[in-house]
């Protein structure tokens, strides 16, 4: 049972199993997107007050949800890498960052565009929007810090520390911004109210959330694979992987090598 667990830490194992999993994850993601978009755009009702703009919810909510989930994954992976010194954990953590930053930016953009026809304004400094904006800064800081180090190992560890400090800070920021907003009683308090949703809206929303999740896993796997290759360039399996297709098949090489050894 534990051998399976240790396998998780092996870059080679991950590279090989991701090659098999990728078509599936990608396919499922695509399918879920098609179903979710069809249901959301064509078959779900318009909102009583907002009209058709409510359809933006089907891409805005999954983006925001994923932006936060990915940050938690990024921080936890970094923690695992720090505590148990597992390289793969750091690779996953670092690969999460740009995807999470994209989700955050998309959440902010779609939210702003949604706000224009519904609230009359692109931006409001309410608790959720402000916290989400700061989350974007945390992602960007993480990526900037990691790329500033020359040594990958130090870069991984420093970024992991930053991610963890940020993780602790996220509820604090949200809480402080929420209190800050409610203090100014005069200001427009925009609390996004999610009433108990009817099924015709809930199903497309859940479908899209899962579509985004599988998308995240697909994109993450690609990024992790690219990163593994670069980091494991000294490993035999990587060298073998790249020399296949360039020269003769592996078997012939082995015979040639042993022939050379015997002749010496």
């Amino acid at each position: 049972m534990w051998t399976w667990f240790y396998q998780l830490a092996s870059p080679k194992w991950f590279y090989e199993i991701s090659r098999k999993l990728l078509p599936w994850f990608g396919g499922i993601s695509l399918l879920l997107f098609l179903v979710g978009l069809t249901l959301g755009l064509l078959f779900s009702p318009a909102d009583y007050q907002q009209g058709n703009t409510v359809r933006i919810m089907y891409i805005h909510v999954p983006s925001a949800y994923m932006s936060m989930m990915v940050y938690v994954i990024m921080a936890l992976a970094g923690a695992i890498g720090l505590i148990w010194r597992i390289k793969m954990a750091h690779v996953v953590s670092v690969s999460c960052a740009s995807i999470g930053a994209m989700f955050t930016a998309l959440a902010l953009l779609t939210g702003a565009i949604w706000g224009r026809p519904t609230w009359g304004t692109y931006w409001v400094w309410d608790a959720r929007l402000t916290s989400e904006l700061i989350l974007l800064f945390l992602y960007l800081g993480f990526m900037a810090l990691h790329s500033a180090f020359d040594d990958k190992k130090s870069a991984d560890k420093a970024a992991a520390v930053l991610a963890l400090v940020g993780l602790v800070n996220i509820p604090i920021i949200h809480f402080s911004v929420e209190w800050w907003n409610t203090l100014h009683q005069g200001a427009t308090l925009s609390k996004f109210e999610k009433p108990s949703m009817e099924t015709s809206m809930l199903i497309p929303l859940l479908t899209m959330i899962f579509a985004f999740k599988f998308y995240f896993l697909t994109a993450l796997m690609h990024k992790v694979r690219a990163e593994i290759l670069l980091r494991e360039k000294q490993a035999k399996w990587v060298k073998a992987l790249l020399s296949v297709g360039e020269r003769s098949p592996k078997d012939q090489d082995i015979t040639t090598d042993s022939q050379i050894l015997e002749s010496k």
């Binding site: 700061i134 800064f137 500033a148 180090f149 930053l162 209190w179 800050w180």
Partner: protein, 221 residues
């Protein structure tokens, strides 16, 4: 405890040698706050309105600028590494640096804040509250800043990156600090916000040195 005290004494004696470290952040604070009446409006009522925010942002930026003086030199000449190797805990080293940073930069800010408050037309009561809020908030900023500084010690363009990293972490203190003074200036209760500032100080004082010490070890390797 005595280790901590001797470390603090060391920090202060190093800094005292170049007295400009005292003056620059203070001068920066005064100049930045002075720019707002010139740039925004000299109208007393409106000045009083923006005063809490202006004082806090200026204090925050001044502290941000003062951070490197306490960490960079020791890192560059290797004495930081020597201290860690000699068995002194990273926690104490960071705590000493943060405390010294506050004594040299934060405390003067707190003391000169009432003068700035008068310049920005803050009421007398709000001025006192501003001092108190800064007294509680500036040490937190020093502790939190230590984390960002330790992460960027070995980097080439560390200074610019430091700002990007540390500002999101400063924001809760900024928000509660500014709202404390704002509440006092309109006569609303402010003790709650002060309590939060106090809590932030305790939390950052206790936990930030751990993160900063870990970051320091990473930077030194």
């Amino acid at each position: 405890m005595s280790v901590l005290l001797s470390l603090i004494k060391r920090e202060l004696s190093v800094v005292m040698r170049s007295q400009s470290e005292f003056i620059y952040p203070l001068a920066f604070f005064v100049m930045v706050t002075t720019m707002f009446p010139l740039a925004v409006t000299p109208e007393p009522i409106q000045l009083a309105f923006i005063a809490p925010g202006v004082i806090w942002v200026a204090a925050l930026l001044s502290l941000l600028l003062s951070l490197h003086a306490f960490y960079q030199a020791d890192f560059d000449d290797g004495s930081l590494e020597q201290l860690l190797l000699s068995g002194v805990s990273g926690y104490s080293i960071v705590a000493a640096k943060a405390i010294a940073n506050w004594v040299v930069t934060g405390l003067p800010l707190v003391l000169i804040a009432p003068v700035i408050g008068v310049l920005l037309n803050l009421s007398a009561e709000a001025n006192w509250v501003a001092m108190l809020a800064l007294l509680l908030g500036t040490p937190s900023l020093c502790f939190i800043g230590a984390i960002g500084m330790s992460l960027t010690l070995g980097l080439r363009n560390g200074g610019v990156l430091l700002t990007l990293l540390v500002l999101p972490l400063f924001i809760p203190v900024l928000i509660f600090g500014a709202s404390t003074v704002e509440a006092a200036s309109v006569g609303r209760p402010f003790v709650g916000q002060l309590a939060v500032l106090g809590a932030a100080l305790i939390l950052s004082g206790v936990f930030a040195p751990y993160a900063a010490a870990a970051a320091m070890r990473i930077s030194i390797d």
